[in-house]
Symmetry: D3
């Protein structure tokens, strides 16, 4: 049943996402002792002008 | 006041979304006894490479 | 695959939630033509001091 | 540590977002007494056909 | 229409939240030029054992 | 920068969560090649009457 939402900055390749969801699912399966089928992962790609830290858009950071 | 977020896989038409928000709003109105105006629905389209079940991206499923 | 998150104010009974998830699931099934098994609903109860409109906490509204 | 997610309708410029994250971060810093570095803001742009009020898509509103 | 979700660690008082939603709403109103009525804020209190940075629960940090 | 939200059903112990955030953070670090410090994890505990599959609350499942 665990549902995992992951916010990442734009630019991740499908290969990176493929590896990430595999490893994150394994992490949930191992730590919570649930079957892999029970794990859902949703990725949200954030444009660099849609993410800010300390009040500064990532796209504005030098 | 209910706020409804719905994650769906990419590919839904505006017609399907129009029908979905109408029916989901009716469902909330009927079950919680709130006015339609109080119901907000937000749809999030997920690319098939941004959704995984059992550690496998939907875009990789045969 | 649709995943539905519903934010509601504290105070809803289990009976209301039972009816809401049944009706919302039917709405998704009918409008998107997916099997009921594919629909997940998550409810988030908000205390009245954790919700604001127009800058005023619901718990402060007369 | 506060993490702020803001859903806005499509059409906001980078200038508006730059100003928004600056002012929202200041608001969190001032009201919760945390350092600016502790504040993360994520913006989610919603297409007008992905937002509904009272069961009507924003893109259908006259 | 902007909907703002704010995740904060457990322990904030209602007074702090009251001030936070007031200031955050003002920040949105000023930067996006929307009426106050259009701004919804939802606060999510996180127990210290439900938040982690660098793989360490906040409740485990010395 | 990745921010991970994990919805789990009520009942997980702090030991399970401690292990989960450690392993999930490692999974993100390894697959995306980011420093551990960049990874934030937020856990959301769902009461069994706040989660439904196929229109049935988990608390109603025999």
């Amino acid at each position: 049943m665990p549902i995992v939402h992951i916010d990442v900055l734009d630019g991740r390749t499908v290969e990176e996402k493929r590896e990430m969801v595999k490893q994150v699912t394994d992490a949930i399966v191992n730590s919570l002792n649930v079957p892999p089928d029970a794990v859902t992962v949703i990725i949200n790609d954030m444009p660099h002008h849609n993410f800010a830290k300390a009040g500064v858009l990532r796209s504005d950071r030098k």
